[in-house]
Amino acid sequence: MKKLINDPAQVVQDALFGIEAAHTDLRVDHPNKLVYRADAPRPGKVGLVSGGGSGHEPLHAGFVGPGMLDAACAGEIFTSPVPDQIVAATKHVDGGAGVLHIVKNYTGDVMNFEMAAELASAETGVQVSSVLVADDVAVQDSLYTAGRRGVGVTVLVEKIAGAAAEEGRPLDEVTAIAQQVSNDGRSMGLALTSCSVPTAGKPTFDLAEQEMELGIGIHGEPGRERLPLAPATEIASMLVEPVLADLPFQRGDAVLAFVNGMGGTPLIELYLMYHEVARILTGHGITVARSLVGSYITSLEMAGCSVTLLRVDEELIRLWDAPVRTPALRWGA
């Protein structure tokens, strides 16, 4: 394992000092490992809190700022944050209009956010609603399992719900918009390499030189299927077709198309993949209304990518286009 780190157990804490130093319009609560908009709480604005295990940067801290999150809770690497952190964040960003928790659907995240929501409400009466993101079509959905993982759509929920909150919409509306994004988006990922959790010190799984892992999540976990390495054209259809089949997207739909790097993939490959994805969509009569290409929700240094499609209407496009000013997504401001 080769990393630019000091003590493997302190990576998250150490990086938070860097985020604080680099972004003067963010505030970091180090004991609680929280990143805030400097101007939180905003009176009358719904507060947006997300968080999860670290190792997915820029998610979530890189999306804190006007037009997106009010606070991000950083767990240990690949380990959801604890209720104390989430409670502190929830109380801090409450501007009187309630707080929305954006939670990726993992057992640990769900339980810790649930406990936190109960505690925060009990302690201060803050109204908390929450939206689960569960967009990974690589995982079979079922009432009897943990359900699907939350992956790429998380970024889109944070942006779009963030814009709605910034407009001053009430908690129920912001929650409904977040839920709509969560409902109408789907993702699928692929790894060319595994990644190493710093404290584990070695790759979570091993892939041979001619293998790839289809259906990976964002925790270095093995995927659904190990396949021989394939050209980008084939990989694109392995990722896009299951996404299209699942929602289902229809001829004439407009989508936001998001090609995401897993952390160790160079941008030139992501653009190449984006072209393949766009071509498949055109073939299905689907219009790309907006696009996003880059490494926004990662799995440490894993090489690979994911494709996320979100069905959009004019209102979602308007909210996507609204100004945002965060370390990792910024426009119009």
Binding site: T79, V82, T107, G108, A146, T204
Partner: protein, 211 residues
């Protein structure tokens, strides 16, 4: 040692559990790497190290106090799935044992059963889902049956530890339906569940420290 269990016995149990976790940290993480995200050993060790510090800094006076301290520490330090689940386990165990300075083996068995119920309530896993529940359920049953038959506590704990180890081994052929391993579907088969492995260590620690 009297067959009644003191706070100091419980503390000894947790100290031994913490020691076992540290000794098996890499193994637990390796099990989690195979069907999860390679953090279970680190998570539990971070939690149990904090528990040892808390117990030393502010030694609890009652079983209830101990359960609360251990449970809250785990909830606050572990995160992930095991933080809330093991945290809930100890919170419920403490609540069930109450404020008495000593508890009987019966009460202890009932306490573990309450802890198990808490884990199930929080995590909604059923036996057979390939989780910690698969080790905890038979362990609690074994202890309850032993103390119900008035066997010595040591025998009951030995039986519980054996049942937990068997339950842990039984997770190997299971297909995961809860937790992170469920994402693997069929590929989860053939791997031992890390959380169940931790439960086996928990009961082994009880057998060692409280007999």
């Amino acid at each position: 040692m009297s067959s009644d269990i003191t706070v100091s016995d419980l503390t000894g149990w947790l100290t031994e559990f913490g020691r076992l976790i540290k000794a098996h940290k890499e193994e637990l993480t390796a099990l989690d790497a195979a069907i999860g995200d390679a953090d279970h050993g680190t998570n539990m060790d971070r939690g149990m190290t904090a528990v040892a510090e808390a117990l030393a800094a502010d030694p609890p006076q009652t079983p209830a106090g101990l359960g609360k301290q251990v449970g809250m520490t785990l909830v606050s330090k572990v995160g992930g799935a095991s933080g809330p689940l093991f945290g809930t386990f100890f919170l419920r165990l403490g609540a069930a044992l109450g404020e008495a300075t000593e508890v009987t083996p019966d009460q202890f068995a009932a306490g573990l059963s309450a802890g198990l119920a808490g884990v199930v309530a929080r995590g909604k896993a059923e036996p057979g889902d390939k989780t910690m529940v698969d080790a905890l359920t038979p362990a609690v049953a074994a202890l309850e049956s032993a103390v119900g038959q008035d066997q010595p506590l040591a025998d009951g704990l030995a039986a519980a530890a054996q049942a937990a180890a068997d339950g842990r081994d039984a997770t190997v052929p299971m297909l995961a339906r809860k937790g992170r391993a469920s994402y693997l579907g069929e590929r989860s088969i053939g791997h031992q569940d890390p959380g169940a492995t931790t439960v086996a260590l928990l009961l082994a620690a009880a057998a060692t420290a409280m007999s």
